[in-house]
Symmetry: none
Subunit: 196 residues, 2 copies
């Protein structure tokens, strides 16, 4: 457990770094807390390092915060269903977005139109795509048709040398293509929607 002033020191460092994108000097921390001695701050910073809140490098502005929860994580509090209390989640306490961001050959497309509405992908949603040339059956892929049209559809292989592309919209029809007309460009990894 941190003492009052240790907590103050940590708070100041966090604010400072968020604001300046840079670690503060010991004297800057001291000034921020109304303390005249950098030796005192050194003691607090040492304690914070000991307690695992930050790391020190033997340089000026050498402080680095140790993320208590990764920057790409949010606490996963529970499950929600209509009209029932939230069910607490015991095992997994963080939702890690690096599952989306992690891959090294991924990119985002913004979906226009309602062709994927039955898949829960709506107009203006973002989809995260991983580059790939092949896909397993029933994966949703970015497919290039006849070197011209690009589309996001579920893929199946009904028979050899044939590819079926299935739109997620009841109003549209699945269609079979000769395999050489279809080039798979990527696989759907995730979907993100931002609300106002």
């Amino acid at each position: 457990m941190l003492t009052t002033r240790e907590q103050d020191t940590l708070d100041f460092i966090q604010k400072y770094m968020a604001q300046h994108k840079q670690a503060p000097l010991l004297t800057e921390i001291a000034q921020g807390l109304g303390i005249n001695s950098k030796g005192v701050i050194h003691r607090y910073v040492s304690a914070l390092e000991q307690a695992g809140y930050l790391q020190r490098n033997p340089k000026t502005r050498g402080l680095e915060l140790i993320d208590q929860l990764d920057a790409d994580e949010l606490p996963l509090l529970g499950r929600i269903a209509a009209g029932k209390p939230i069910e607490a989640i015991e095992d997994q306490h963080q939702l890690n977005f690096s599952r989306l961001l992690g891959g090294n050959n991924r990119y985002v497309l913004q979906v226009k139109g309602h062709s994927m509405i039955d898949e829960g992908i709506r107009n203006n949603d973002y989809v995260v795509i991983e580059h790939a040339q092949t896909a397993r059956s029933n994966q949703i892929v970015v497919a290039l048709i006849d070197e011209h049209d690009v589309t996001l559809k579920r893929v199946q292989y009904p028979q050899k040398n044939q590819v079926r592309l299935i739109p997620a919209n009841k109003a549209m029809q699945a269609k079979d293509y000769a395999a050489d007309r279809i080039k798979i460009q990527g696989i759907l990894i995730g979907q993100v929607r931002l609300y106002e």
Copy 2:
């Protein structure tokens, strides 16, 4: 972590390049920082190159900035619509997930059931919620009903002291409550789905 003067040097280079559409001379940087020695600037530029902020070419004005893309960004390549070529995006080249992750009082719930199906929120999807006690009309909120049931619904205020909760499922009915029966716990910020 950059030192103060390294940061100053980087700032100056960025400003200069934005203004002049070309890289500054070492002596120009020196002058901009009030330094008389180009050797000093050379040292800072080398440090910045080492740290990955820029690249040097063996030419005069040979500096090139290296775009820093945050770890929580993915390239936004274009827009996709059924059966049309991808429309390239000119302006915004990164989708910033910090729009989702950024808030300091946010958490994630996993949705169970199909009560939000018409909103494109499906069973097992994750929703990002920001803590809040109030919401504007038509926002989707986490609402606590009678201190017991928690639900995710669109909110409206048909008249004073009355709250309407609207499920996003045609099979379910909107319902009006006395204002004191409903406590808003959070507002829907985003929605994320991970595919296998």
